[in-house]
Symmetry: C2
Subunit: 250 residues, 2 copies
DNA sequence: CTTAGGGGCTGATGTAGATCAGCTTGCCGT
DNA sequence: ACGGCAAGCTGATCTACATCAGCCCCTAAG
């Protein structure tokens, strides 16, 4: 049971797969990971996984389902910082800082492995490569946040939207949940609004715009790339911005 | 010479000081750091330290001066992601990803220690605590980027500006370059504009607004908090958002 | 079957901030 | 001792998006 996650072995879990992409992990490393991985938990929509201000929080690795991490402002509005999909690490900062600076909420029912602070830090000292791997993963997340920052600062609503769906598609493809033609997407228009810094009304109009321009359709929980070429062109999307050419540590 | 940086010992360098704040570092750890720290380089305004797309970049630790990291868009506009002040790590992502996803440019003449990719990764395997420390520092940077994201997504220009100067002041205070009354600030209004996602014209008006409201004055390279209380209130600034209550690893 | 609530959708109106245009000041090089 | 040029500053106009208001449709609960 220790090396098995549901019916797949550790090496095949999205998380280990993602880490292996940039730091080659030994059998021992994988064992340490599988140990971290033991505790499975389920969350329903509406029950926060992590929330702002709370201390001594665990982190999680998402096994299935989608989540969103966000911040609430004094005036009640919120800004979604990112969506999490299977394989993503959740709440790393709330572990490292001891008190969480953001919320994480399931968008669909979620299965996740709980990782305790102590276990994580122990694992780092025992297997330094893992620490490097997690640093890498954290940096990749930061790169995405930076890209979102640029979106909000300097791109128009429609370009922003296009960029968002291209990035999301690229991420989902890495875990086999999307292909060139599109993907299933459980996000509502108001979630999109909170992520893109727009009003829900405007999200609706922009989606129509993209649809009528024959570039992308998002309806009934499905995203379809009607013209991938035109869309990447329109968004100025760097198509290999999530590829990082091979393992860093051999 | 090895344990001395200029005229101060390693433990006193802003970088080591920052890291020590959250991971207690042994004498050995400090030695490894001082070794990383050897290579000193100077940069003038106008000569990029790091630029987008370039591979096999070094990282740097800023010893003196200010820098800005930014991205350029296809249409020529740019978005500044963050400013770096002494003690800050620069270009970590460009080392971990092997090719840089952003630019870094000095704002004032800069002195920095160059850190080679190999040395950094070696240091991680030799002293796992250092890896954890750097992970922590990277996460702290991410937290700031997230805060900027919220700024751009959901805060008005004036609140954004107020928040920016409060955060900057807090960071500068950590390295002894500011106090409660204000600090020296080499940023131009158009740099502010590129950082806050505004036009230079609007930055000017917002600065006037804050000044006339008696909250903050930024003129002739000096920031003065005219009414710190009112300002934090106005910005909804969490005054301990960069404190992370003591070392993570004892 | 009826209703209540959430998501999507649309038109009308309002506004924060961009853009354009120009003017002033200080600074740097010749 | 003068031109050039970046930084700051200001007024007038324009526009991308928000806000407000209301409709339809679907599902879930009574």
């Amino acid at each position: 049971m220790k090396e098995q996650i549901g019916d797949m072995s550790v090496q095949d879990s999205p998380f280990a797969r993602k880490l292996s992409a940039f730091v080659r992990l030994s059998k021992d490393d994988l064992l340490v990971i599988s140990d971290l991985y033991r505790r499975r938990r389920d969350f329903d929509v509406g029950s926060d996984m992590i929330h702002q201000g709370q201390t001594n929080q665990s982190a999680y690795v998402l096994a299935s389902g989608w989540a969103s991490s966000y911040k609430i402002l004094i005036d009640g509005t919120r800004q979604i910082v990112d969506f999490q999909i299977p394989g993503d690490f959740i709440g790393l900062r709330s572990v490292l800082f001891r008190t969480s600076d953001h919320n994480v909420e399931p968008i669909t029912p979620v299965q996740a492995s709980e990782v305790h602070q102590r276990d994580l830090l122990d694992a780092f000292t025992r297997t330094p490569r893992l620490a490097t791997a997690v640093l890498w993963a954290a940096s990749r997340d930061e790169a995405m946040v930076v890209e979102h920052l640029v979106d909000l600062g300097r791109r128009s609503a429609s370009v922003r939207m296009a960029h968002f769906f291209l990035e999301l598609g690229a991420r989902l493809r890495l875990v086999g949940m999307a292909n060139q033609t599109g993907f299933d997407c459980p996000l509502s228009q108001s979630l999109l609004a909170d992520a893109l810094g727009l009003s829900a009304v405007h999200v609706n109009r922009v989606l129509r715009e993209l649809r009528e321009a024959g570039m992308l359709t998002f309806q009934k929980g499905k995203v379809v790339y009607d013209n991938y070429e035109a869309l990447t062109e329109f968004a100025g999307f760097d198509r290999n911005y999530l590829d990082h050419n091979g393992p860093l540590l051999p």
